[in-house]
């Protein structure tokens, strides 16, 4: 079985091909905001390097976020297109679990941190996904018994501030991962995708859903306005089992 992996959720855009014995090829770039200009070329590049045609692909894995909203949509729209057009199942992986997977051998406590802009980050700790400010993450890290290893673009952007904030709280100052772990590596996405495929954890093309972790702006602003309350509007994505929100 050939797996096509697509990464476009944060600052890195890439594609990888994996076979029964593991990853065969990976192509990635950090093209600024040029996600839709880059992703499909990475697919052709990865397939060519692996000497595989897309017709041979039997499953498509994709990073569904959290991360950049438009980047997530570029990746998911492509994954839906490939899964539909090739008639194959899809595998949804989050940016946080791919980062954790990539760094799993690097320390006892790995905390993936994705930049959510507006001074917020998303992170995963003890199996729970959270979103909040730097202080909220620092407070969580300060309760740990050992220094955590922070990876992801949120760790790259806010690393120094996090180290300082955790130290100020008397916690074990976290270590910061290198820039190669500044985004979910697409080879790790492919590797994790293979495991999910073996476990049969696939969905059809239309079953792929984004993990934005944040409601659209208009909805937030509308909900915070005194009136009129939007009828029948769910409070936001946090009703859908996304874990806790920490302020």
């Amino acid at each position: 079985m050939i797996l096509l992996a697509l990464e476009s959720a944060t600052v890195e855009v890439g594609a990888a091909i994996a076979g029964d014995h593991g990853v065969l090829s990976a192509c990635a770039a950090r093209p600024g905001r040029r996600h839709v200009e880059t992703l499909h070329r990475a697919v052709s590049c990865a397939a060519a390097l692996a000497s595989v045609t897309l017709e041979e692909v039997g499953a498509v894995a994709v990073d569904v976020g959290p991360g950049l909203f438009t980047g997530i949509r570029v990746g998911l729209a492509a994954a839906k297109g490939f899964a539909l057009a090739l008639g194959v199942p899809a595998i949804a992986l989050t940016s946080l679990e791919v980062l954790s997977h990539a760094a799993r051998c690097s320390g006892p406590v790995v905390v993936p941190v994705v930049d959510m802009r507006r001074g917020e980050v998303a992170w995963q700790l003890g199996g729970t996904t959270s979103i909040g400010g730097i202080q909220a993450l620092a407070a969580a890290l300060a309760t740990l018994g050992a220094p955590a290893l922070l990876v992801g673009d949120g760790a790259r952007r806010h690393g120094a501030a996090l180290v300082e904030a955790v130290a100020a709280l008397g916690g074990p100052p976290p270590r910061l991962g290198g820039d190669e772990l500044g985004a979910p590596p697409v080879a790790s996405l492919a590797d994790l995708g293979l495991r999910r495929l073996e476990e049969g954890r696939t969905v059809p093309a239309e079953g792929l859903a984004a993990e934005y972790l944040r409601a659209p702006d208009a909805r937030i602003n509308f909900a915070s306005r005194p009136d009129p309350a939007p009828a029948g509007d769910a409070g936001g994505p946090f009703d859908a089992g996304f874990g806790s929100r920490v302020r």
């Binding site: 040029r34 996600h35 839709v36 200009e37 880059t38 992703l39 499909h40 070329r41 697919v43 052709s44 897309l54 017709e55 909203f69 438009t70 949509r73 570029v74 990746g75 998911l76 729209a77 492509a78 994954a79 839906k80 297109g81 490939f82 539909l84 057009a85 090739l86 008639g87 093309a205 239309e206 859903a209 984004a210 934005y212 659209p216 702006d217 208009a218 909805r219 509308f222 939007p230």
Partner: protein, 358 residues
Amino acid sequence: MSGEGPAGRARPARDPEIVLGVETSCDETAVAVVEGGRTIRSSIVSSQVDLHARYGGVVPEIAGRAHLERIVPAAREALREAGLDDRGMPLAASGPGRGIGAVAATVGPGLAGALLVGISFAKALALAWQVPFVGVNHLEGHLYASLLEDPGIELPAVVLLVSGGHTILVEMDGPGSYEVLGETVDDAAGEAFDKVARFLGLGYPGGPAIERAAREGDASSIAFPRPMLGEGLDFSFSGLKTAVVTYVGKHPEVSSADVAASFQAAVVDVLVAKLLDAAGTSRARSVCLAGGVAANGPLREAVAAACAAAGLGVYLPSRSMCTDNAAMIASAGHHLLGRRGPTPMDAGAEPSMRFPAG
């Protein structure tokens, strides 16, 4: 592209004449299959109007999310209706006998976060099926909507493209040969409809809401300005919107129906006068309407009457071809593929794309 199947039977081939089109520039998620640039095999439009209505306009982030959720069901339905399977090849029992040979998508103008969904999806289909990808200008697509329904239109034609985002007068000599004669200097006509409808509390989208309310009103009751009438072929609608707000402020007792009818009459007067001016000063043999506002009843009636009086051929597309759809994108894509060849895979969204020169 054709080959022998395992049983020795010829496998159906992919045919570049059969184009799948994708349109996600604003608030309609649309997928269509068109053959030979003219024959619509399917045209699916999933409207998000309900999602945006409560905000009185299209919310870009909500539109982007909705496109992503709706694109696969829309594509599947378009393929099935065209007698094709998920791989774009004929279903055993029915279908044209050949598979999809090109994929077209709107690349601009439009909302960046919405356009990206259609572009990324369409490129994936093209790569998976090993067929060309073609990026289409949404405005050029609207011109093909007219040709799609009536390939016998006499050219050159002057097309008035009026929608929520655009108000443009174009002379079309043939596919790919256009000249922009005039356009709005501020708001689009449809935008003025939306803003006035919201101001009057008539709901969203504004075009149908104003048209409905205006039926109960007197169009001659308020003399709203006819902006830039007799001043060339450009348009301006933001002053007219302000005039409505000012008038209602001074006359709070006025009926919304009278305001709606008088406002609509002012817009229609300007659109029709400039369309006829454009037709008169060009070599045009016919006149076409395109875009969502072209579905407005009084505008259609006024254009038809004026053209009949002037001895001009007139073409009024059906309502479903006026509003955003993917059949027009597939049709334009078919022509563009023949003229310019495929679009490279590094093409991105062009949110402020202009009307193509040529």
